[in-house]
Point group: C2
Chain length 222, copies 2
DNA sequence: CTTTTAAAAATTATAGATAATTTTCGCTTC
DNA sequence: GAAGCGAAAATTATCTATAATTTTTAAAAG
């Protein structure tokens, strides 16, 4: 079992808080009070503050010195920005990963696609989708690039969960299959082109606002 | 004068350490001892640890839990990786910035190019080069993208200072001028294409190793 | 002369305490 | 009822102290 020996309290707190922010349990602009969080985790506030620095760097929280840390807010402009950054970086990663892809990896990616298609809620779909992308990009072996993409996926997931609070409908992911088909035939440029288009597809869904009315929310659905 | 009211000790420490790492005053793999740094800055080690988390996120340091923080090391593979990430992201930023560029901005960028050409040492050149890139990309208004590019520029500068320890020779930057010419004529795609090629140009220089022999070092020179 | 071992020193990670600042909330005034 | 004011409470940022762990040093054994 993975001992948490090489894991500080700070990193554990930052993972848990990141997850809550992504899932929307912590709403945009919500204050993150260090002493409250410290108490919840049964620690002092020192590791909590270190966790905050991590969340800041990931773009999930913003720090206003002396006035506390808040969950970062976002808007359609940022959804577009993240989509375009993902297109640029995932395209790059795929071009490098292509030559290292094995049939086994592509089969695993296809399985992830099937699981995504069968997902009955948005959380299951997101997990499968993220696994698909990671599977085909990780063989690039570009650590810095992959870390940047991971942070963008976290942002994407947040947008998605915010927009699709309920009412996920199953659908067949034709893009994923087209990407895999192109990769299997060695048509890397075509695979990268589909991928770049794919992650820039922004879906919209109606969400209920706190005031009871309805507005449109936007999110990356690739 | 800029009061340091909205500036924590931690952020000041992280800026100073980042600068030292970039300039090579702190060598790759050098240990960063929190108590020593705390003493130097006349603080306790708590803000030092927060600064470490920032450096980690920037890719300038790596943390081994319980075993301390070290200056991140790098190799030719990472130089290439950063160059390609810069090409992808700066290309994206320029395409968005183009429509917001004014003659005044382009004039300022041309002035930065002239200053870079006239620079007599690598530090002055890097400063002018970074200013050129920032000037033409900032009008994109894409905060997350620009922050990512800033971190990549920090990495680039580190590679550069590591390779060009001495012996900087003046040269005229034709790429910068070609980019500006294309932008002035509204040929955005051409400008972006030159920029993407430009930042992937990797120069090489001989460096003396600690053992007295000579090897080749590589760095992004755009 | 290398390897092993054990004690000593240094270092990290976290807790608990405190000063400074900001936020909250009730009271007053318009 | 809105706007301003001023304690009181809450919160942040930092420091000092301490337990746990790692690294270094040096001596002992092979």
């Amino acid at each position: 079992m993975a001992k948490e020996r090489d894991d500080t309290i700070a990193s554990r707190i930052s993972r848990v808080l990141a997850d809550r922010i992504i899932r929307g349990e912590l709403a945009p602009d919500a204050r993150l009070r260090q002493d409250h969080i410290a108490e919840e985790f049964g620690t002092s506030h020192v590791p909590v503050r270190e966790a905050f620095r991590r969340l800041e760097a990931q773009g999930l929280a913003i720090n206003l010195p002396r006035r506390g840390v808040r969950v970062a807010s976002f808007d359609l402009k940022e959804v577009r920005e993240v989509a375009e950054m993902r297109a640029a970086l995932e395209g790059l990663a795929l071009r490098h990963a292509a030559q290292h892809l094995t049939p086994a990896i592509l089969d695993a990616a296809e399985e992830a696609t099937r699981e995504g298609d069968a997902a009955s809620d948005v959380y299951a779909w997101e997990e499968a989708n993220r696994r698909f992308h990671r599977l085909i990009l990780a063989p690039s072996g570009m650590a810095r690039l992959l870390a940047a993409i991971d942070d963008l996926h976290a942002a994407s997931a947040r947008f998605l969960f915010s927009a699709w609070q309920s009412g996920w409908e199953k659908r067949t992911d034709h893009d994923h299959r087209a990407i895999l088909a192109a990769l299997r035939q060695g048509r890397t440029d075509e695979a990268a082109a589909i991928l770049q288009k794919h992650v820039q597809w922004i879906g919209r869904a109606p969400v209920r606002t706190p005031s009871g009315s309805t507005r449109e929310a936007f999110a990356i659905v690739g």
